[in-house]
Amino acid sequence: MLPREAWLDLARKLEWTFRYVPESELFPSDPSGTTRVPPGEWRRWEEPFKTSYREYVAAQHEKERAVRAVREAVGRPEHQRRIPRPWLNANKFHGAALPLAEFAAAIGNLRAGRFARDSAWRTMALFGAMDELRHTEIPLLLYHELVKWDPQFDWVHRFYHTNNWVAIAARHLFDELLLAANPIELAIGTNLVFETGFTNLQFVALSGLARDAGDPMFETMVKSIQTDEARHAQIGRSVLEILVESDRAYAQRLVDKWFWRTWHLFSVLTGFSMDYLTPLSARRASFKEFVEEWIVTQFLEVLEAHGLERPWYWDTFLTSLDHYHHMVYASAYTYRATVWFDLVVPGPEERAWLADKYPASWPALAPVWERVDAGWRESDPDLDFAAHGTAIVTFCDTCQLVLCEGTPARNTAQTLVRGERKYIFCSEPCRWIFEQEPERYAGHLDVVKRVLAGEAPGNLTAILTQYFGLTQETWGRDVERGRYDWLDRPAKPRPPQRSAAEAPDERQP
């Protein structure tokens, strides 16, 4: 049998000269991407970690066995009941966000498997597509068992099929990044920015928190996914290496665009989980500290190594790091019925921890939670809608998330008139992204504009049930139903007690 090094290049990098069709027909600009890189330059493409199909299948088989084992051991409702309730809701959020986004990533990788400009890149993209199918199936499999116990877990499958506001935002990002992008933009946006930078927050940092929170199923799931991500993420750096040599401006623009869009997604998804839904005893660092380690330090090193600048809005990003996920969380808490998982009010010890971790922003955020406390004090436990907003909230025309950028003192939302339409953006970077490619975004309607156009109801209960796809059993509530030990409610005057002889017989109809 030939040694591995004798045949591997033939398996992974099989190029030949095309004689029957011109290059422009074989790799049309729309699906393949247009850059200043001369076509022949892509032939230099190399992945640092090389694998064969046989090795791939053997490694994946072992990973699958580990996932099945942990599902058998701790994947049933009786196991999940032991998990702290706030953390269980981080599961519901992640469980919904993952599967069909991963499926879209499989499609993006399959497109790269055909239209990427080098055969080794195409081979890696095919492995990536198989990875992403696996990442679709794992959460669907693991959480399915829990649906009969808690109907909110049904959203693991249901989420992307709804018009829930979070789903609209997630689809808006993933449709562009994974279903519409050419292989070059896919490689920079997904493999480099998303997978090299941000998913470490999920798959390394959050998996550690899951272990400390007593959730080995989540820990195993994300670790199993991470080992795949680490392999196919290398596509990004290899594409970047060639792209920056001939088209540095395009590479920088793609990094700047996808860094901001990805930041907003992870800020909400991971920021909520790390700073609010993880039990205090399991928190090793704040979301900001994890971002500083994995993004501010390590990802910037990657950019600098390739001669790229940090994104032009870096100061805005640093302000956002202190504020954005806190502002979205406080807003989401007061509109918790609009999501499919439950949210928690941070208690006094958690607020002290947040004040310590976020000295620049918490003084302006603490009064918001004091108002939430006041709302619960004035109402009885279980009356979730007694401390819940009803006015229509606002959404960004780029990221489709709520207008929560800036600070409580100064929200940075800004408007734009284009043709006959008015647009609003949460931030300068979101406006910049829109103005770079308005034809991509201008026709999309955010939730507010759907309400104003009569496509969605404006009444809260109607929009929850008729448009967001929620029911009384699945819409989000306060995790503790407002029963916090630390929340002192004033004693309410009781009706005068009657003697037993005066009291009606309550057994009678």
């Binding site: 806190h326 502002m327 979205v328 406080a330 807003s331 007061t334 302006a364 955020l365 009064p367 918001v368 108002r371 939430v372 006041a374 709302g375 401390a387 819940h388 907003g389 009803t390 006015a391 229509i392 909230v393 606002t394 709520v402 207008l403 929560c404 600070t407 409580p408 003192a409 100064r410 929200n411 939302a413 800004q414 408007t415 008015k422 609003i424 507010v448 104003l452 404006g458």
Partner: protein, 87 residues
Amino acid sequence: MSVLVPLYGFVEGDTIGLIVLAHDDDPIARVVSRLQHSARWRVAKFEDARAFHGDRPLDASQTVAEAGLSALERIDVRRAGGSPDAA
């Protein structure tokens, strides 16, 4: 007959922008009051509230039309004294 003028409203101290469904003949004072009421779960009502369109303070007695506001414009509700970074 009055015309509906939906506005983006941002209350100082709040964490999110809100839509206020104003009418062109609503006085600005009413719009401010409604925004503060909608934001009450996160921000306590402040008595010295003042509406701004950009940097331009709006007269509370003027109507939405008189103030020159059209649909989907941004207004801010701030304390009259204003916090240092609210402008």
